[in-house]
């Protein structure tokens, strides 16, 4: 299925974005693109299986979860900005992990 190719390409774009960016918000945008890739994958699965009801139910649920995660992430980003006055990813390399 052609949409499967799109899924993989979107996935690659999302991962590259997260790895290569210096800006915190772009990291979140990359994560968003990854979630879109996976949403498309679910819809494709439902399309092939002719089970759109299940796929749609799952996609709707995932969208709800995604909003909550992004909201909390935005809150954390705002907090980081208040400390450093910058959105640079390199600021949060303090912990050595």
């Amino acid at each position: 299925m052609v949409s499967a190719i799109s899924v993989v390409l979107l996935f690659v774009i999302g991962i590259y974005c997260i790895l290569a960016t210096h800006n915190l918000i772009r990291v979140l945008i990359g994560l968003e693109i990854l979630i879109k890739a996976v949403t498309l994958l679910l819809i494709t699965a439902g399309f092939i299986d002719l089970n759109m009801a299940l796929a749609q139910g799952l996609v709707i649920t995932i969208i709800v979860i995604e909003v909550v995660i992004m909201t909390v992430a935005a809150g954390v980003v705002l907090g980081i900005h208040r400390h450093y006055n910058s959105l640079d990813v390199r600021n949060i390399r303090k912990l050595k992990g």
Partner: protein
């Protein structure tokens, strides 16, 4: 009626937030009662509470929850236990009453989420409640809004987000392969087509996602940052139970009830488990921050649990489940101790500490019990779970891994001895001459947990055979 375990915490949050005068003060008491009830409910016999609850609550709610098996019950008990300790630490550490209220509410929501994960029998419901737990932990880690906490929270959000994406992808592939999201139906469909590319891809995605969530090497990067920078009560509940429910339990559940153990899966688990057990222990040896050492210790112990699972036998899974419980007990205990030390001293730098056992006897001696249990010294509880895992590995033919497990135990003993010498015994630092023991809130849960570890250490050999046998139904189904 097992849906109550999710509905009651949720409705408590609803009720606590009503604009009634004075209801906020009930938050702590409600949460404590809830966690105690949860621990007790695990022992209620099957027929009354755990029967398949169809059409409960007069047809308004129709939840498909089958009864909980022993694996879920172990996890449910641990959730109650860790929450109980974390609630007391909350009361002891957070000073502002509004902060305390919010924190307790988030803990209640996290409990609802974890209970849902433990009870779910459908792979998508499992995912949703997993996300509830994850979001609650994001907020808990970032709660104080200090720089390090926010940094740890952001890294966790990112890695957890990637794990989420991989898991949804796995679910999508499983739907393609099996047509449904119910555990039993997927299991049935997978039993016939085992060597499929699609299914292997799905399983691979799941395993990577769950390794990230459990903090196994090589995906452990977020663990020390998140555990150490989180506020003390958050670390207790995060290390004590959240990572284990969110990562290890889900992995075990999927392997046991959905996918089954193939030799390739077992070798991946054994390798990752051994790697985490050894490297985590070595890394712990080099730390000077109290909480970071405990975080690396957690990575190492999770490696043990995965080694147990990787052996693929009933004995191995039972040992893994027992170690989940033991780790919840001693790790919560150690984090409560670190909270006590941090609140009295204002620092987590172990190089500056020493001889605290004289000033803080309760904290000191309970930490000894926790450390010895983690290192697997008899007759404490930790000894039994480690022994079972080693035996399971040996019997399943993975003799090298059994030796590695024992080696890991030696390393564990090493870093804990180092911890004890640096913090509680040895010369007293002049700076901390006048430190007193921490308050009731930070010592009571420590004493309770230590007592539980000692009692269970003595009782385990008597209930062991019954415990292990009940796992045959988990693996068979």
């Amino acid at each position: 009626m097992s849906a109550l375990l999710i509905l009651v915490p949720f409705f408590s949050v609803l009720i606590l937030n009503l604009p009634l005068k004075g209801i906020r003060r009930l938050a702590f008491g409600t949460a404590i009662v809830l966690s105690l009830l949860q621990m007790a409910s695990v022992f209620i016999p099957d027929s009354i509470l755990w029967k398949a609850a169809q059409g409960a609550f007069g047809g308004i709610f129709n939840f498909e929850l089958q009864g909980a098996d022993i694996l879920s019950k172990v996890v449910l008990f641990c959730i109650g236990m860790a929450s109980f300790s974390a609630l007391f630490v909350t009361r002891g550490i957070l000073k502002d009453s509004e902060d305390k209220f919010n924190f307790i509410n988030i803990i209640l929501l996290a409990i609802a989420g974890m209970n849902g994960v433990a009870l779910a029998r459908d792979i998508f419901s499992l995912y949703i409640f997993l996300e509830i737990t994850a979001v609650s932990s994001f907020i808990l880690i970032a709660f104080n809004k200090d720089v390090l906490g926010l940094e740890g929270a952001f890294k966790y959000i990112l890695l957890s987000g990637v794990a989420t994406v991989l898991m949804i992808a796995g679910i999508a592939l499983l739907i393609l392969a099996a047509g449904s999201t119910n555990f039993a139906l997927i299991h049935y469909a997978l039993a016939n087509h085992n060597k499929d590319l699609l299914i292997s891809l799905a399983i691979g995605l799941f395993i990577v996602a769950l390794f990230i969530k459990s903090g196994l090497m090589p995906f452990h990067g977020w663990v020390p940052d998140a555990y150490a920078s989180a506020p003390a009560p958050a670390s207790v509940i995060l290390a004590g139970i959240i990572t284990k429910v969110a990562g290890v339990y889900v992995l075990i559940r999927i392997l046991v009830s959905v996918v089954g153990f193939s030799p390739q899966i077992r070798s991946i688990l054994l390798f990752a488990g051994a790697l985490s057990a050894i490297l985590g222990a070595i890394a712990a040896l080099t730390q000077s921050d109290f909480k970071r050492m405990l975080s690396y210790s957690s990575i190492s112990q999770v490696g043990y649990i995965i080694l147990g699972v990787g052996s693929g036998s009933i004995l191995g899974v039972a040992g893994a489940a027992l170690h989940i419980f033991n780790h919840a007990a001693f790790k919560s205990l150690l984090f409560v101790n670190s909270a006590a030390v941090e609140s009295q001293l204002g620092s987590r730098d172990m190089d500056k500490m020493g001889g605290l056992a004289k000033q803080m006897p309760i904290t000191g001696w309970t930490s000894v019990i926790g450390s010895l249990s983690c290192a697997g010294i008899p007759p404490l509880a930790g000894f039994w779970s480690k022994l079972i895992i080693v035996i399971a590995l040996w019997l399943a033919g993975y003799k090298t891994y059994a030796v590695i497990a024992v080696l890991g135990s030696v390393l564990t003993l090493a870093y804990f001895l180092s911890l004890q010498r640096r913090v509680f015994f040895g010369k007293l630092n002049e700076e901390f001459k006048n430190i007193k023991e921490a308050g009731f809130n930070l010592t009571f849960p420590a004493v309770m947990l230590a007592a539980l570890i000692v009692v269970l250490g003595i009782l385990t050999p008597f209930i062991l055979s019954k415990f292990i046998l009940s796992f045959s139904s988990v693996l068979g189904g």
